[in-house]
């Protein structure tokens, strides 16, 4: 059993510590507060607004003028019975900065549901052409043409990418190596506390139906 206050503290502290570290090192993150909604024994964790990673390096080692804005919208559901994550959706939008213009160059979401849907990899990434609800201070004008005609139904099996995975991914993809190691030594203990899925339960759920037990778990 975990209580609401524990989950609230884990997410709030993780967000505060990671964003404080990144802002201090010049990688701007517009902090959004964790909000909670309780539904029986499940606690839905959302952010008041998407996290806004502003003017980030296009990639590790990018030239100073190669910049991205990244928006991350997160909803996770935590079981209060055992403290595990039972659902997680992370939606990411990438905007390439071209002078004053913002070009929406990538939109992707990561899904996990412990109650495995048929024809769905347990954890997967999926292309998208939609943009999350913009944070208040994000410029309203951007060019979304590159996303318009992309195929949206390809589900790519992945590892579990949740709130903790978001930071692991963005840090690894965009920050210089020395900052990455300092980030982990400062923030790992907070990120480690973010609820993961209950892998045994997921295996049981998979075995309950016709399934492919591989690294890309499928149920059908």
């Amino acid at each position: 059993m975990v209580n609401v206050g524990y989950v609230q503290g884990v997410y709030q502290n993780c967000l505060a510590e990671t964003c404080r570290f990144l802002n201090k090192h010049g990688f701007a993150v517009i902090v959004s507060r964790v909000g909670l909604d309780k539904d029986g024994q499940e606690l839905v964790v959302t952010l008041a607004e998407p996290l806004y990673f502003k003017d980030w390096p296009y990639r590790t080692g990018a030239k100073p003028n190669e910049k991205l804005d990244i928006l991350a919208e997160i909803t996770e559901t935590i079981s209060l019975n055992d403290g595990h994550c039972v659902r997680s959706t992370l939606r990411l939008n990438y905007f390439r900065l071209d002078g004053e213009k913002r070009i929406a160059c990538e939109a992707i979401h990561y899904d996990f549901d412990a109650t495995v849907e048929k024809q769905h990899p347990v954890c997967h990434a999926q292309n998208s052409n939609s943009i999350v609800a913009l944070p208040e201070i994000f410029p309203e004008t951007y060019d979304a043409t590159p996303l318009a005609k992309r195929h949206q139904d390809i589900r790519i099996p992945t590892a579990f990418v949740n709130f903790a995975g978001l930071f692991a991914k963005l840090i690894a993809d965009h920050l210089p190596a020395d900052t990455v190691s300092e980030f982990w030594s400062t923030c790992k203990s907070y990120i480690d506390k973010i609820p993961a899925h209950a892998s045994n339960d997921v295996v049981k759920e998979i075995l309950a139906g016709k399934s492919l037990q591989s690294h890309s778990w499928y149920k059908w």
């Binding site: 206050g5 503290g9 502290n13 505060a16 404080r20 802002n23 902090v31 507060r33 008041a48 208040e136």
Partner: protein, 357 residues
């Protein structure tokens, strides 16, 4: 216990405040008026002279708080003296400082409020009350708060902690350290006052100054900008309970578990915002109004008085409940943890037309 040093150039007012302070502190504080009988020698600045005078007596009994009238023109030997000079001395000596003004308009004008908020990280604690009795009340609470912080900080277990963790521990919520740190990050570093001493490795001086730094940070930022804590109006707005209803004892009692009881909590009422949230979640209530309904206590909702929408947030300029749609947030000089603090659109436009944001 320490002394409260009072700078007030009007003798009758000075006596009023002193008497009231003695009563309010149960004579635990020694209240001393600044001795203005002799002015500085030629070539000595007011700051240097006052600093020397305070240093000469500081060993007899420490000064726990300096309270200062902003206008000190009646001190005959110090023509042109103002609270600015005293605050410089207080900063030099690491003594907590607060000031008050007999010209209430100066602190009530919205444009002035905007300007002081904007430089919150470098301003001084300014009392919000009106008149000697109210000021004395605030001074007494500030003195008690700083004394508490100083006493706690002498505990080596707390003294060795990082500032945000030390303050969280002193406030009684060690788990809030990372969120408290958001109130001190970015350009607005409240720690500049001790940076030089940290660099010099002068940790005794850092330890001496830290209670002033922590207390001032707490009062000017964490308690003032709703986010981690909420004042009475911000709590009403967040809970969706009208400000009038939240004043009622019967209503407040339901939220007493979330009350903030740390340093300066006597000045006004604050609540821990996350504790309020937990109260609602554990009762499966969508907001404070619904929560109270389940307790058989009907209340009015808290609305933005311009739009009649559900408020939820707090306007730092008008100090009123405001809705998200009718206000601006993420103001770059707000502490980044203060996510319930906003500026009403109409005030934002009015003020930005007068000053550059």
């Amino acid at each position: 216990m320490s002394r409260i040093l009072l700078f007030d150039d009007v003798e009758s007012k000075r006596n009023e405040i002193s008497q009231e302070l003695l009563r309010l502190t149960d004579k635990q504080a020694e209240v001393v008026a600044f001795d203005a009988d002799s002015g500085p020698d030629e070539g000595v600045t007011y700051e240097q002279h006052i600093e020397r005078q305070l240093r000469a007596n500081i060993d007899d009994a420490p000064i726990g708080l300096i309270a200062c009238d902003k206008e000190l023109g009646m001190y005959g030997n110090y023509p042109g003296l103002s609270a600015n000079a005293i605050s410089v001395v207080a900063r030099t000596l690491g003594i907590p400082f607060c000031q008050y003004s007999r010209h209430p308009m100066a602190t009530q004008r919205e444009i002035d409020r905007f300007n002081t908020l904007k430089r919150w990280d470098s301003e001084e604690i300014t009392l919000t009350g009106n008149g000697s009795k109210e000021w004395a009340g605030e001074i007494a609470h500030l003195w008690r708060g700083f004394e508490f912080i100083r006493t706690e900080y002498t505990n080596p277990q707390i003294g060795k902690l990082k500032p945000a963790t030390a303050l969280a521990t002193i406030m009684g919520r060690k788990d809030a350290a990372t969120r408290i740190s958001l109130y001190g990050s970015g350009d607005q570093s409240v720690m500049t006052e001790v940076f030089a001493f940290v660099e010099d490795g002068d940790y005794d001086t850092v330890a001496h100054r830290m209670p002033r730094v922590l207390g001032t940070w707490l009062r000017l930022s964490i308690l003032r900008f709703p986010g981690l804590l909420v004042n009475e109006t911000a709590a009403a707005s967040y809970l969706n309970v009208s400000t009038d209803d939240l004043k009622k004892e019967k209503v407040r009692n339901f939220f007493s578990g979330a009350r903030y009881n740390g340093p300066f909590s006597g000045i006004e009422t604050w609540w821990w915002r996350d504790d309020l949230e937990i109260l609602l979640l554990e009762a499966d209530a969508s907001d404070g109004k619904a929560f109270l309904q389940t307790k058989g206590v009907p209340v009015e909702p808290c609305l933005d008085d311009e739009t009649s929408e559900r408020a939820g947030f707090y306007c730092m300029i008008t100090r009123t409940p405001v809705s998200r749609a009718n206000s601006k947030g993420n103001i770059n000089w707000f502490p980044s943890g203060a996510d319930l603090s906003r500026i009403r659109n109409s005030k934002f436009e009015q003020i930005t037309s007068l000053v550059s944001m």
